[in-house]
């Protein structure tokens, strides 16, 4: 157990050393790395969760299905898989605000949100969001919640993957499902902010 904190150059060389050995052993190829990276850079990301949320905002029957069994509801869109084998969606309302975290590691619903941002995996967020969520939301994300709104923090300690159905923003009546999906930003599905407001 080394206590040396490596530089970026040292980490890059170590990763390359490991990769070269794993390639020779037939465990990795650069083509497989490239394909996996391409999937999470371009194909699987918060735009997928946004489609599901927009449908839930416009179709009450689908919203009930989503809240009852998110894994099955997402499968209707062909959305699911790695790190989202068992998903639960929790709904924000006028009285309740939900936010997700993984205090023990970095669990996050990849099929609907893609890979987590760095702040989600770093010690500050993981340590504080369960202890002082209102303060974190206010000071670090600029999102102020009145005391009358209950704050519910979901610590993803098992293989269940939680994510948030944000409130539909004011002034979004008459927008198409695709236009609504553009308002569903990543942070609103983590629960560290609201959905975007429609451009006036």
């Amino acid at each position: 157990m080394s206590e040396h904190v490596r530089t970026q150059e040292e980490i890059a060389a170590r990763v390359k050393a490991l990769e070269s050995i794993l390639i020779e052993k037939g465990i990795m190829t650069t083509a497989a790395v490239d394909r996996l990276v391409e999937i999470y850079e371009n194909e699987v990301g918060p735009q997928l969760g946004a489609k599901v949320v927009a449908r839930a905002w416009t179709d009450p029957e689908f919203k009930q299905k989503l809240l009852a069994d998110a894994t099955r509801a997402c499968a209707e869109f062909g959305i699911g898989g790695l790190q989202g084998e068992d998903m639960v969606v929790v709904e924000n309302t006028a009285d309740v605000h939900n936010v997700i975290v993984c205090t023990l590691c970095s669990c996050y619903p990849w099929p609907v949100l893609g890979l987590p941002p760095n702040w989600y995996k770093e010690p500050a967020y993981r340590s504080r969001i369960v202890r002082e969520p209102r303060k974190v939301l206010s000071e670090d994300f600029g999102y102020n919640l009145p005391d009358s709104v209950e704050v519910r923090v979901w610590d993803s300690s098992s293989e269940m993957r939680y994510w948030v159905l944000p409130r539909r923003p004011e002034g979004s009546d008459g927008l198409s499902e695709a236009e609504l999906a553009d308002l569903v930003i990543r942070d609103s599905m983590i629960g560290v902010g609201p959905a975007a407001s429609p451009a006036s």
């Binding site: 699987v44 340590s127 704050v151």
Partner: protein
């Protein structure tokens, strides 16, 4: 284990730094490090619970100070060594070589099966639910207390919920038990429940923020029928 990774409720770690725009990968090496999780999982280095336990055994100072995907390198090395799949002296030698020759190319090998594996595993996932004929000992609505002792080895029973009392709000069925699988002892499925704790129960009336709760998933061996009344909100 009572490790530094168990961060819930730790004070003094500063502000959450949120950049305006951040790429999915912030350095080239992160791409290969990220891919090693799936590739080494396929090659039998670890299951997901062992993978986490390997990270938990990093030096705590390095854990806190290193970029996230470097954690994944540590667990690949940990299990590579433990299972005889990697010679760490060879990793050291090649690291020195690539430090001195950062632009030296990687060996090239083709294997369509590996790309096919990636295409298949992303949409299919690797489910952790497991059939079991175990009868659940608890149900939604039960008040339970989390066992307070400190297990050695891997566990998901975080310190901040140990000894705390809450209400079961969801029952999920049976899943791989991390306290077994993470320690190399097989799936040993157990029932998983979501327990709701009030802020007052977790942090006490003085420190607790008003009007809030924390939900935490527990495996059945983590809990027992309530031994305290718990703090109401």
């Amino acid at each position: 284990m009572n490790g530094v990774h168990d961060l819930g409720g730790t004070d003094g770690l500063g502000r959450v730094v949120v950049p305006d725009n951040e790429p999915v990968f912030t350095a080239e090496w992160e791409k290969a490090a990220f891919a090693m999780f799936s590739m080494c999982f396929r090659a039998g280095f670890f299951g997901v619970d062992e993978f986490r336990y390997g990270i938990e055994q990093m030096h705590p100072a390095v854990y806190l100070l290193s970029p996230y995907y470097e954690h994944w390198i540590h667990t690949v090395e940990h299990y590579g060594k433990a299972k005889g799949l990697l010679d760490l002296d060879e990793v050291d030698r090649r690291t020195q070589y690539y430090l001195e020759h950062p632009d030296a190319p990687l060996p090239q090998r083709d294997d369509p099966d590996l790309v096919a594996f990636v295409e298949a595993v992303v949409p299919a996932g690797a489910p952790a639910n497991r059939e079991s004929d175990k009868v659940p000992q608890f149900k939604v609505g039960d008040t339970v207390t989390v066992r307070a002792d400190s297990p050695l080895g891997h566990t998901r029973r975080a310190r901040y919920i140990r000894g705390r009392t809450g209400e079961i709000v969801l029952a999920h069925g049976t899943f791989i038990y991390p306290d077994s699988a993470g320690n190399g002892d097989g799936d040993a499925p157990e029932h998983v429940y979501t327990v709701k704790f009030t802020n007052e129960e977790l942090w006490g009336p003085d420190a607790a923020e008003p009007n809030g709760v924390v939900y935490f998933d527990v495996w059945e061996p983590y809990i027992e029928p309530a031994t305290t009344t718990g703090a109401a909100a």
